[in-house]
C-alpha cells in the first residue's frame, strides 16, 4: 500500500518545502494511517478473540453464568482420556503420514524438475490441483468413494477379486484412509514448495559433482538434499502445524470415529465448543494446542535449521 502511495507523497512534499515541521509530522503519521485499517482488523478479529479465548479458558459456564475456575479446565484436560486419545491419533499422523508425504513430495519435485519429463505443466497442475479443491468437497468425495458397501473403490477392488475393505468403519483402516486423503491433498503443494527451491540450486554444483564421478543417487544425496534443506524445513514445519490442527478431513470422513480412532485435537475441540457448548474447555484445548505447536516448531528449527 505504501509503495503505491509514496510517489504522490514525494511530489506533494517537494512542492511545499518551507512549511516543513507540520508537514513532516503528517508525513511521519501517514504510514501509520495506511497500516491502521489492517491493524484494526487484525486486532478486532485476531488479537481480541485470542485474548478473550484465554479468559474463557479460565471460566466455566453453568446455566449461562460464567464462573472463574482458574486452571480447572487445564487440569481436567490432563485427566481426560479422550484428549489423550486425540493427541495420540494426531501424533500417529505426524510421525507416519508427514514423512511419507514429504518423501513423496521430494520425489515429485525432482521429477517435475527433470529435463526428461514431457507435458510438465500438465503433471504439475495435476498434482497441485487437489490443493485448491475445497476441503469439504474433497472430504465428501472421499467418503463416497470409500464407502464400504456402496463405494467406487470397493467396487473396483471387487472386480479384481478383493473383498470389501472396511475403509472408514474399522479403526485401523480409518486411520489409513485418513492418511491417504491427506497425502492426496497436500503432497502436490509440498512438491511445489520443494520445486521452487530446487530450481535455485546452481547447475554448476551438479556439473562439479559429475566431474568428481558422482552418479545420479550420489548427486541427489550430496547436492540436491542439502540444497533443499531450507525448503524441507519449511515444509516440515508447515506440515506439523497443519497436522496438529487437522480438522476437516476426520470431521467429514469419519466424524472422529470409529470409537475415536480418528479423533484429532481439532475435532475434539470442535465437539466441545459446538456440540457440547463447553466453550471454556474448548478454549483450554486451543491454548494447549497452540503451546504444543510452538514447542514442536521450535524443536524443528533447532534440529533442521542450525546446520544450514
Amino acid at each position: 500500500m505504501s509503495v503505491v502511495t509514496s510517489p504522490t507523497r514525494t511530489v506533494r512534499s517537494a512542492g511545499v518545502r518551507d512549511s516543513r515541521p507540520p508537514r513532516l509530522s503528517a508525513r511521519r503519521l501517514a504510514p501509520y494511517a495506511f497500516v491502521l485499517p489492517a491493524v484494526l482488523l487484525f486486532a478486532a478479529f485476531k488479537l481480541y478473540p485470542i485474548g478473550w479465548s484465554f479468559v474463557l479458558s479460565l471460566h466455566k459456564t453453568v446455566a449461562g453464568v460464567d464462573t472463574f475456575v482458574g486452571a480447572d479446565n487445564y487440569v481436567r484436560l490432563l485427566d481426560d482420556p479422550l484428549f489423550w486419545t486425540a493427541l495420540k491419533n494426531t501424533a500417529v499422523i505426524l510421525v507416519v503420514q508427514v514423512p511419507i508425504m514429504l518423501a513423496l513430495a521430494t520425489g515429485l519435485a525432482v521429477a517435475f524438475n527433470s529435463a526428461f519429463l514431457r507435458a510438465r505443466s500438465v503433471f504439475r497442475l495435476g498434482f497441485f490441483m487437489p490443493m485448491v479443491t475445497g476441503l469439504v468437497a474433497y472430504g465428501v468425495v472421499f467418503s463416497v468413494l470409500l464407502n464400504e458397501k456402496y463405494g467406487l473403490v470397493n467396487w473396483l477392488l471387487s472386480l479384481v477379486g478383493i473383498g470389501e475393505v472396511p475403509w472408514l468403519t474399522d479403526p485401523l483402516w480409518a486411520k489409513i484412509s485418513l492418511g491417504l486423503a491427506l497425502t492426496w491433498h497436500y503432497t502436490g503443494y509440498n512438491a511445489v514448495i520443494l520445486l521452487a527451491r530446487l530450481q535455485t540450486i546452481p547447475k554448476e554444483l551438479y556439473d562439479a559433482a559429475s566431474v568428481d564421478g558422482a552418479g545420479a543417487w550420489q548427486s541427489f544425496r550430496h547436492v540436491t538434499l542439502p540444497g533443499l534443506r531450507p525448503a524441507i524445513l519449511l515444509a516440515t514445519v508447515l506440515s506439523t502445524i497443519g497436522t496438529l490442527q487437522i480438522f476437516d478431513e476426520p470431521y467429514i470422513l469419519t466424524r472422529g470415529g470409529p470409537d475415536n480412532a480418528t479423533l484429532t485435537i481439532g475435532v475434539y475441540l470442535y465437539q466441545n465448543a459446538f456440540t457440547y457448548f463447553d466453550f471454556g474447555y474448548a478454549s483450554a484445548i486451543a491454548y494447549v494446542l497452540a503451546v504444543l505447536i510452538g514447542v514442536l516448531g521450535l524443536i524443528q528449527f533447532r534440529v533442521l535449521g542450525d546446520k544450514s
Binding site: 478479529f45 485476531k46 478473540p49 485470542i50 478473550w52 479465548s53 479468559v55 474463557l56 459456564t61 446455566a63 449461562g64 460464567d66 481436567r76 485427566d79 481426560d80 482420556p81 479422550l82 508427514v98 490443493m131 476441503l135 467418503s143 464407502n147 464400504e148 458397501k149 456402496y150 472408514l168 468403519t169 480409518a174 491433498h185 497436500y186 503443494y189 509440498n190 515444509a235 508447515l238 506440515s239 502445524i241 497443519g242 497436522t243 490442527q245 487437522i246 480438522f247 476437516d248 469419519t254 466424524r255 470415529g257 470409529p258 470409537d259 475415536n260 475441540l269 465437539q271 465448543a273 459446538f274 456440540t275 457440547y276 457448548f277 466453550f279 471454556g280 474448548a282 478454549s283 486451543a286
Partner: protein, 449 residues
C-alpha cells in the same frame, strides 16, 4: 499441513474463539435483552424467517399461503438449513448473542434443553405470548419438555414420534414367521435367525462404527421401551442401569447371531439399504414411514407396520422416542408475528392434517387425530391403519425423558460404547460402566448406582 489448511483452520479457530467470546457477552447480557423486556413487535405486520430442514421445511412453506390469508402483512420466508447443519447454525447464532438467527427455529428435543440451559434468554418465553392455553393440547410428556418448570415456555411441540417397527411383510411371509406373534425382542431375534436362513436378509441395520451422531437410536429405543434413559429426573447419569445393560446385551446378541447389517455412511447409506432390501425390519419412529413410502413406492403392499415388541415379556411397546418443536428467537424483533406463525402451524388441526398428508409427520397436537386421515387404511402398508397404530402409542403413558443439557455428550459416549460392542465384541456391562464414569467426569454429574 501447509499454508492454506493452516489459514482455514486459523480462521476456524478465530471463529470458534469469536463465537465463544460472543457466548460470554450473550450470557452476561441476558438480563437486559431488549426483546425480552416487552417489545415483541407488531403482531400482524413484518417479515419473519423460519429455519427448518428438508421435509418439515417444505411443509411449512406450503402453509404460508393459508397463513397469509389470515395475516396478509406478515411475510414469511422458510429456509431449509438441512439437518444436522441447523444445530451448528443455531449454536453459532446463539453464541453470537442472537446475531443472524431466524425468528422461528425448528428444534429437536435432543437440542432444546441444551440451548435453554447454555444460552439463557435466546429463546423467547412463549408463555408471555399466549402459549399457556395450549398446555393440555399436546401428547403426554411433551409440555414438560417445552416448559420444564411450568412457567417459561421455550417452544411449542410439533412432531411426536413414537417407536415403530416397519417390516417387509413379504420377507416375513417367505420365512414363515408370524410378525404379529413377536411379543418380545428375544422373539424377534429368533425370527431373525429364521429369516436369515430362509431369505438371507438381516433382521435390521445399525450404523456400527457410529459414522453419525444418532447411531445409537436403536439402543435408545430399547432403553426407552423400558422407561429408562441416559439421565434420571434428577439429572443423574443412568447409563449403566440394568435397563441399559439389557438393551445393549440384546443388540450384542443380535449382532453375534449375524442379524445386524452395517448401515454406516449416513442418510444415503440408509436409503440405499432400503432400496436394496438388506434388512427385514426398520425399527424407526413414526416419521420414518413417510420416508419408506417415498423411497420405495413400487413396494406398496409389501410393507407392514406395528409397534415394536417389548423388551421384557409384558413390558411396554409404546414410547415417545423423540419430538421436535418450534421456538421463537429471544432476540427476534418480530416475536409476536413469529408466535402467530407458530400458533397457526402447530395449534390448528387443519395445518397439521395438511402436514401429515404431505410428509407423514406425526403431530403432537392431539385434536388432529380426529381427522379421518389418521383412520384410513394405508395402501402402502398392506391396508393397515398406520395413523391409528401410532395414535394408540401416543395415548399410552410415556414418561417425560430428561434429555438435560448434556445429551450430546451422553450420545457420544453411548455411540462409542455401542461401537466397542459391535466391532470389538466388548462386554455391554463393562463398556456402559466405563461410559457412565467418563460422562460423569466430563459433566460433573453423579452416576446413579
Amino acid at each position: 499441513m501447509d499454508m492454506s489448511r493452516r489459514r482455514v483452520l486459523g480462521v476456524g479457530g478465530v471463529l470458534a474463539a469469536g463465537a465463544g467470546l460472543g457466548g460470554l457477552t450473550a450470557c452476561s447480557g441476558t438480563g437486559s435483552t431488549g426483546a425480552q423486556g416487552g417489545d415483541v413487535g407488531d403482531a400482524t405486520k413484518g417479515s419473519i424467517t423460519v429455519w427448518s430442514w428438508q421435509g418439515p421445511a417444505a411443509e411449512l412453506r406450503a402453509l404460508v399461503p393459508a397463513f397469509n390469508k389470515k395475516y396478509p402483512d406478515i411475510k414469511v420466508t422458510v429456509q431449509d438449513i438441512g439437518n444436522p447443519a441447523i444445530w451448528d447454525k443455531i449454536t453459532t447464532g446463539m453464541a453470537a448473542g442472537g446475531a443472524g438467527l431466524a425468528d422461528v427455529l425448528h428444534i429437536g428435543v435432543d437440542y432444546l434443553p441444551g440451548y435453554v440451559d447454555r444460552f439463557p434468554g435466546q429463546l423467547a418465553d412463549l408463555g408471555k405470548l399466549g402459549a399457556h392455553k395450549y398446555r393440555d393440547s399436546f401428547a403426554k410428556g411433551l409440555w414438560e419438555t417445552v416448559s420444564p418448570k411450568g412457567e417459561q415456555v421455550n417452544a411449542l411441540p410439533w412432531e411426536a414420534n413414537s417407536a415403530g417397527f416397519y417390516y417387509r411383510a413379504d420377507v416375513f411371509e417367505e420365512a414363515g414367521v408370524d410378525v404379529g406373534a413377536l411379543d418380545t425382542w428375544d422373539d424377534a431375534i429368533e425370527a431373525g435367525k429364521k429369516i436369515k436362513k430362509k431369505t438371507g436378509k438381516y433382521l435390521l441395520g445399525i450404523d456400527k462404527p457410529a459414522s453419525q451422531q444418532d447411531s445409537a437410536n436403536f439402543f435408545q429405543l430399547l432403553l426407552q421401551l423400558q422407561g429408562g434413559f441416559y439421565f434420571n429426573t434428577d439429572g443423574d447419569i443412568t447409563l449403566d442401569s440394568a435397563e441399559a445393560v439389557r438393551a445393549m446385551s440384546l443388540i450384542k446378541k443380535m449382532n453375534d447371531a449375524g442379524l445386524v447389517s452395517d448401515i454406516s455412511g449416513g442418510w444415503n447409506a440408509l436409503i440405499s439399504s432400503i432400496k436394496k432390501g438388506t434388512a427385514a425390519v426398520l425399527p424407526w419412529p413414526t416419521w420414518f414411514g413417510g420416508i419408506i413410502e417415498e423411497t420405495v413406492p413400487d413396494q406398496a403392499g409389501k410393507w407392514g407396520v406395528r409397534l415394536p415388541p417389548s423388551v421384557r415379556r409384558g413390558g411396554a411397546t409404546a414410547a415417545t422416542v423423540n419430538s421436535t418443536h418450534l421456538a421463537v428467537a429471544g432476540t427476534s424483533k418480530h416475536q409476536a408475528a413469529a408466535w402467530n406463525f407458530v400458533e397457526f402451524a402447530l395449534t390448528r388441526p387443519e395445518s397439521q392434517v395438511e402436514i401429515y398428508r404431505g410428509k407423514g409427520i406425526a403431530p403432537a397436537l392431539l385434536k388432529t387425530y380426529d381427522d379421518p386421515v389418521f383412520h384410513e387404511p394405508s395402501k402402502f402398508f398392506g391396508g393397515q391403519k398406520k395413523g391409528e397404530i401410532f395414535f394408540g402409542a401416543l395415548k399410552a403413558p410415556s414418561p417425560a425423558f430428561n434429555y438435560t443439557s448434556d445429551y450430546a455428550r451422553a450420545l457420544k459416549v453411548v455411540t462409542d460404547a455401542q461401537t466397542k460392542v459391535l466391532l470389538k465384541g466388548a462386554d455391554p456391562a463393562k463398556v456402559l460402566h466405563a461410559a457412565a464414569d467418563q460422562l460423569a467426569s466430563q459433566t460433573g454429574r453423579k452416576v446413579a448406582r
